[in-house]
Subunit: 337 residues, 2 copies
C-alpha cells in the first residue's frame, strides 16, 4: 500500500507516529506532509528509516492509496489547518487513517466526501462493537506469548516489541506482533486500541487478538502499555497482563528515568520491585517470569555510556538486557527463542 503521512510542523521530533511508520510499517511512504520542511527529505533528519520527499500539502502528492495522520496533538483533537489535506485526499479517492481521539467518521464533511468517493475513514482509536469480557483462555493457543511491560509510559515498549519481532523473524522464527496502541495498530494495519475500550473489556480485547493469531505463529509479541504502578493508566497495564496470559515478560525502561513521566511527584520504584510486582500479580492467572530487559538509551550520548547503563540495568534486573535499537536484540532473544 502506498501512503502519504501528515506531520505538519512536527517532523521528526514530535511526530512519533510518522517516524514509527517510516521505520517499521510495510507501507510504501511516498511523501511526508510538513509545511515547515517542504523541499527537504526524510533522510535529512532521520538516517536509518525509509526515505521520502517532504511536501507542503496533499495536493503536492502523486497517486497514493491512503493519507495517514502521523501526529497527535495534546488532547487528540483535529487541527483545522489539516482539513484541506484530508478533503483533497478524499476527493482523489484516498482512504484516510487516523489515531486521533476526534473521530473522522463523525465529521460531517469527511463522512460525506468519503461516501461520495468510495473511500474508507479508518479511526484506529475507535474500538469495534463486538468486544466483550475475557474468558481466561489466551494461554490455550499454540504460540508462546511474550509481553513487554514497562516501568512507565513512553519508555519504548512498542519500539522494543517491534525490534524483537523483526530480529526473531530474521533468525528464522515465526513471530508476530500484537498491537495494542494507535501507532502499533497503524503500523500493523489491524488491532484493538486497548486504552479506548470499555474497562470491563480490557483483558478481553487482548485475548481476542491472541486467539485470532495464536495458531498461525510460534511466537506472539504483545505490545505492552503504561506501567502497573502508573497513577492514571495502571488499569490498562493490568488488563493486558492478565488478558494476554503471557509466558514471558520483557521489562522495558528508559535509562535515567526516575519519576513517572508527567506525574513527577511519583518516584519510580526500584527495578527489582517491578519484577516482583509483575510476576506476583500475573501468577494467579498465569505464571510468568521477567526473562530479559530492554533499555531505551536514546538520551544517553555515547555508546560506551549506554553500555554501562545496560550493564547496570542487568544488575538490577538479575537477567540479560540490551537496547534493541542502539545495539541489537540478541541478548533478549537468547532468553525467548
Amino acid at each position: 500500500m502506498n501512503v502519504a503521512v501528515l506531520a505538519h510542523e512536527k517532523f521528526p521530533d514530535r511526530a512519533k507516529t510518522a517516524v514509527g511508520l517510516l521505520r517499521y510499517a510495510d507501507y510504501e511512504i511516498e511523501a511526508v506532509l510538513d509545511r515547515d520542511n517542504a523541499g527537504k527529505r526524510v533522510a535529512d533528519f532521520v538516517p536509518d528509516v525509509q526515505d521520502a520527499p517532504i511536501v507542503a500539502e496533499m495536493a503536492d502528492v502523486s497517486e497514493v492509496d491512503a493519507l495517514v495522520i502521523g501526529i497527535a496533538p495534546i488532547g487528540g483533537g483535529f487541527d483545522e489547518s489539516w482539513r484541506s489535506d484530508v478533503t483533497n485526499a478524499l476527493e482523489r479517492g484516498c482512504d484516510v487513517i487516523s489515531g486521533l481521539h476526534y473521530f473522522l467518521e463523525e465529521d460531517e464533511e469527511f463522512a460525506e466526501l468519503a461516501a461520495a468517493n468510495d473511500c474508507e475513514l479508518w479511526d484506529v482509536r475507535k474500538p469495534h462493537d463486538d468486544l466483550t469480557v475475557a474468558q481466561g483462555v489466551a494461554s490455550e493457543v499454540d504460540a508462546e506469548i511474550i509481553l513487554t511491560v514497562g516501568t512507565d509510559c513512553s519508555v519504548g515498549k512498542m519500539t522494543a516489541t517491534l525490534e524483537l519481532v523483526e530480529a526473531a523473524n530474521e533468525r528464522g522464527a515465526d513471530a508476530a506482533f500484537i498491537p495494542t496502541g494507535q501507532t502499533g495498530i497503524m503500523i500493523s494495519g489491524w488491532g484493538n486500541p486497548i486504552d479506548r475500550v470499555v474497562s470491563d473489556f480490557t483483558a478481553g480485547a487482548v485475548e481476542e487478538m491472541i486467539l485470532e493469531k495464536g495458531d498461525d505463529h510460534d511466537y506472539l509479541f504483545v505490545e505492552g502499555q503504561g506501567s502497573i504502578v502508573h497513577p492514571a493508566y495502571s488499569a490498562v497495564t493490568c488488563g493486558i497482563l492478565h488478558g494476554s496470559m503471557a509466558d514471558k515478560l520483557v521489562l522495558c525502561h528508559e535509562a535515567t528515568r526516575e519519576a513517572v513521566h508527567g506525574y513527577e511527584s511519583f518516584d519510580l520504584p526500584p527495578i527489582p520491585e517491578y519484577v516482583s510486582l509483575y510476576e506476583d500479580l500475573a501468577e494467579p492467572v498465569h505464571e510468568t517470569e521477567v526473562v530479559a530487559g530492554a533499555l531505551n538509551t536514546m538520551h544517553v550520548e555515547s555508546d560506551e555510556a549506554a553500555r554501562r547503563e545496560v550493564e547496570q540495568f542487568e544488575d538490577e534486573l538479575g537477567v540479560a538486557a540490551t537496547d534493541p535499537v542502539r545495539f541489537d536484540a540478541d541478548a533478549v532473544l537468547e532468553e525467548i527463542l
Copy 2:
C-alpha cells in the same frame, strides 16, 4: 422520592438490585413488580428490609416519581415483556432508572414518550462525557479514604461498604459512600459506573468522585469492584485501587469460596497473598494497608459455624474481621474510625 421496582419473575433471589434498593436506598418503595408473586408482600420473602406490596404490572401502582429496573438479565439486555410497564410509567410522567447495558434513551419509543411527558430516562451504566485521566491527587482531599477490595467478584463488597457507612454514621462519624457499580449508583442516586468507562479513564473516574465529595465528609468508603487477580476484570480493580489512593483497605471474601466465580479453573490464591498483592501494588502510588476483613457468610447455615469462619479468616488475614450483615461492623470500624 417514591419509586416502584421492576423484578419480574426474579424476586427476591435473582433480583440483587431490587433487594439492595429495599435494604439500603433512601427511596420510599411503593411497590415491587413481579408477575409471579403478585398479591404477596416483600416481607413474605425478605424480613429485614422495608416492606412493600408486590404487584403484577405498573398499571397497578399508584402515583410514584420513578420506575426502577431492579433486575439484570445475563447480557444486560432489555426483556420485551417489560415494555408495557416502562411505557405505562412514562405515560404517567414517571422517570425510569435502569442499569441495563441496553440504554433506554436509545430506544426510540421510550425516548419519544419521555420527551412528550417530560420524564427523565436515567441509564446509570452510561458514563458521562467529561471523564478523563487521573491526575493522581485523590489523597489531597481532607477525608480518610477506605476502599473495599475483594478476593473475587460477587463476594459482597458493595454490601459490606454500605454496612460500614451506615454503622460509621450511627457512631456519629461523617461517612459517605462512593458508588462505582450500577446497584450502588441506583441506591445513592449518583456515581460513575467504573466498569463501563474507557479503560484509560478508570482511575480518573474514581478520582473525580473523591474530589467531588472529599471535602464534605470525614470518611469516604469507596465501593470496590472485582479482584486484582480476576482473569477478566482485574483492570477495573487496579484502576480503582490507584485512582482512589485509599488510606485503608478492607478485604472482602465469601466463606468457602475457593475458585474464581464463573472461571472455576482459576483457584483463589491464599488470603495472605491477596494482602501482599493489594498492599504492594498500591504502595508506589499511595501507601496503604489491609486493616480489617469483611466475610460474607450468607451460605453458612448456623451463626456458630459463621463465627468459626470469621475466626479462621482473621487468622489468615492477621487482622480483625466480621460479617457486617450477619453480625455487626464493630470489629472493622475499630480499625478505621
